[in-house]
């Protein structure tokens, strides 16, 4: 299925009577939505179309990704939503959500506030936030979530995440059987389906991959870091310049699928732990009581692991223009990659394919240095 049609199934389900909830950001606990039989649908931006309508509501010097999501909504692409759920993680998405709510007045909307710090009180607070979210959804659904429902939803999502991680395993091969763009394509579709259907699709993909012959030739292997990318064009550009994208640290990718929810006696315990401690995003502010070195290790050591396991030869750090939380992390992460011995290319882009030609020279030159 082409990415342009990614909402097809959700629209179909809605016609059959299901309720579709759009969500921003991987900090929205989808398990609650699934437990109530809502269909969670990740709200996408649009790399293929320039921002038009959203410019009437948003200054142009704001994150192109956030504005593009809103632009899609204004164009009516999200008219099939029954509600919108956000997580307060970055300021820009918060403002965008506010404008969205103000202008489009969705029938149902909710924001889960995710604390930045990890104070003891942050956990207590977040637990209450989850309970509030649960209640709010229950009101919207007209029924309650039992612990059994929630446990089942957690299992479904864990299973789904496990399959995506298995898909990533194929990228450890050299050369990988699944290209970066194909994997991104699959993941994007997976996030546009109810979790059960998403799992079935992933299982089919797995079966197909197992029998697929290895491609030729061996190319430089790239780890892609940065802001959300929900289109394959950027990855394709890197591939056209002669490299394989073998791993990512972005939220439409490994960030969303790596950590599971522990199946705890009280399901809330596992959920609090995942959404507070296990997910990674630069917005998170961990208290540091030690050295800069230890801080950096604590926040980024998973990147070292990714680089090793996936055999990366270089890292491309891409940041959509105006994303403060990523851009302010660039110097630290860049130095961290350098310490691992990985060459780094940093790209700032406008989330629009029409502007990508200026990136091509950089990407190609970078890949030439890896050869």
């Amino acid at each position: 299925m082409s990415l342009q049609d990614r909402s097809q199934r959700a629209q179909e389900l809605r016609r059959e009577g299901k309720r579709i909830i759009g969500y921003f950001c991987c900090y929205v606990p989808l398990e609650f939505l699934t437990a109530l039989d809502f269909v969670p649908y990740r709200i996408w931006a649009n790399m293929q179309e320039p921002i038009s309508e959203a410019n009437l509501h948003f200054i142009p010097t704001a994150c192109h990704y956030a504005r593009s999501c809103f632009n899609n909504a204004l164009k009516g692409y999200y008219d099939f939503f029954d509600g919108v759920v956000g997580a307060k993680t970055c300021d820009t998405f918060d403002r965008m959500f506010q404008v969205w709510k103000y202008v489009l007045k969705p029938e149902y909307s909710h924001v889960v506030h995710t604390p930045n710090a990890n104070h003891p009180s942050s956990y207590t607070f977040f637990r209450s936030e989850l309970k509030t979210f649960k209640k709010s959804l229950e009101r919207a659904a007209g029924r309650e979530i039992s612990d059994k429902d929630l446990r089942e939803a957690i299992r479904l999502h864990n299973n789904n995440r496990r399959l995506v991680r298995q898909l990533y395993e194929f990228r450890k091969e050299s050369p990988p059987r699944i290209s970066g763009s194909e994997l991104a394509h699959t993941v994007i579709l997976a996030m546009s389906l109810p979790v059960q259907e998403s799992t079935r699709m992933l299982e089919e993909k797995m079966g197909e991959l197992e029998n697929r012959p290895r491609p030729e030739p061996v190319k430089p292997r790239i780890l892609l870091w940065g802001t959300p990318v929900d289109d394959i064009s950027l990855i394709q550009l890197i591939e056209e310049c002669g490299a394989d994208v073998v791993m990512d640290d972005i939220c439409v990718g490994s960030r969303h699928y790596w950590p599971d929810v522990a199946e705890t006696d009280d399901p809330l315990d596992g959920l609090v732990e995942r959404y507070m401690d296990k997910l990674v995003c630069p917005f998170k502010f961990w208290d540091v009581t030690t050295t800069h070195r230890q801080d950096v290790e604590k926040r980024y050591s998973y990147l070292k692991q990714y680089a090793k396991e996936f055999g990366a030869d270089g890292a491309i750090m891409q940041v959509v223009t105006y994303c403060a939380i990523h851009a302010l992390d660039v110097p630290d992460v860049r130095d961290y990659f350098h310490e691992m011995g990985l060459p780094v290319l940093t790209l700032e882009h406008d989330y629009n394919v029409a502007t990508f030609s200026s990136l091509r020279t950089r990407v190609q030159a970078f890949i030439e240095t890896l050869d």
């Binding site: 060459p343 030609s357 200026s358 020279t361 190609q364 030159a365 030439e368 240095t369």
Partner: protein, 276 residues
């Protein structure tokens, strides 16, 4: 065996042919809007000098902004890699290259002729030849005279805007106030140099530093860069062709090491069909 490099820049197209370790033919031509497609003419001319035909060239590498659309090239390599190669050949001691082109400016860190790291300016024209062109036009002087004129300044008048349009407006204001041109030009050079240096300094500059591209021909700009970096830079005899030289050298290298399969029958010495 002959090898060729053609560097299709945004404003100037450069072609070089080498034999053994010697440059035997060079062509430099302003690309211009209507001439962008005519890379074939540049190639024909650079071949005509030493009386060659296309098939005698072992390998042709295209580089520069328009590299994708050179129908007679055997491979495209970015100007970043080519500059590093070319400059290393001219100045083996070079570790940092500052290439000031018409549309973009690059900083390149070189180790043994290979690119270690690089930076490039973003969409914005500040710190590029285009910026100086706009200002030269407003001042009514020729672009190539800016360097000399600026050296006559005693008290450079600083212009703070980085945006080409805003700076242009500031310059108009200065002229109206009766500030003399030399001081304005010197101030502009200072500003452009500062922007270039603060970008290139992200690379941790090491000597020797070589300045290439059209900007290297502007003595006022080069000396402003030297003042900013507090060191002397090296200037190639013809700073426009380092990329084309590098391309030709890379053509030779790839060919000698059997790392390229040249299909001469697929080369077409004709106009480019597409250009961005």
């Amino acid at each position: 065996m002959y090898f060729a490099g053609i560097d299709v820049g945004s404003t100037v197209t450069k072609a070089v042919i080498i034999k053994d370790d010697e440059i035997i033919s060079v062509i430099i031509r302003r690309t211009g809007a209507e001439h962008r497609r005519l890379t074939n003419k540049v190639m024909e001319d650079v071949l005509a000098g030493p009386g060659l035909v296309l098939d005698q060239v072992g390998c042709i590498i295209a580089t520069g902004y328009g590299r994708i659309n050179v129908p007679f090239s055997d491979k495209q390599i970015t100007e970043i890699t080519c500059h590093a190669k070319g400059v290393n050949w001219l100045f083996p001691s070079a570790k940092t290259i500052i290439d000031i082109g018409g549309q973009d400016t690059k900083g390149i860190k070189v180790v043994n002729g290979k690119v270690q790291d690089f930076v490039m300016n973003d969409k914005c024209a500040a710190g590029t030849g285009r910026f100086l062109e706009v200002i030269a036009e407003t001042l009514g002087v020729r672009l190539e005279d800016l360097g000399e004129l600026s050296l006559r300044s005693k008290r450079p008048e600083l212009v703070s805007s980085t945006c080409a349009l805003f700076a242009d407006e500031e310059v108009t204001g200065l002229l109206a106030k009766g500030v003399n041109k030399h001081d304005i030009i010197a101030g502009i050079h200072h500003g452009v140099a500062s922007r270039i240096c603060s970008m290139v300094e992200r690379l941790k500059i090491e000597e020797d530093v070589v300045v290439t591209g059209g900007g290297a021909k502007n003595i006022g700009l080069v000396s402003a860069i030297e003042r900013h970096l507090n060191l002397s830079v090296l200037n190639p005899p013809e700073p426009l062709i380092t990329g084309a030289i590098g391309a030709a050298l890379l053509a030779r290298e790839l060919f000698d090491k059997d790392r390229i399969v040249v299909k001469k029958e697929e080369r077409r010495l004709e106009e480019s069909r597409f250009f961005d």
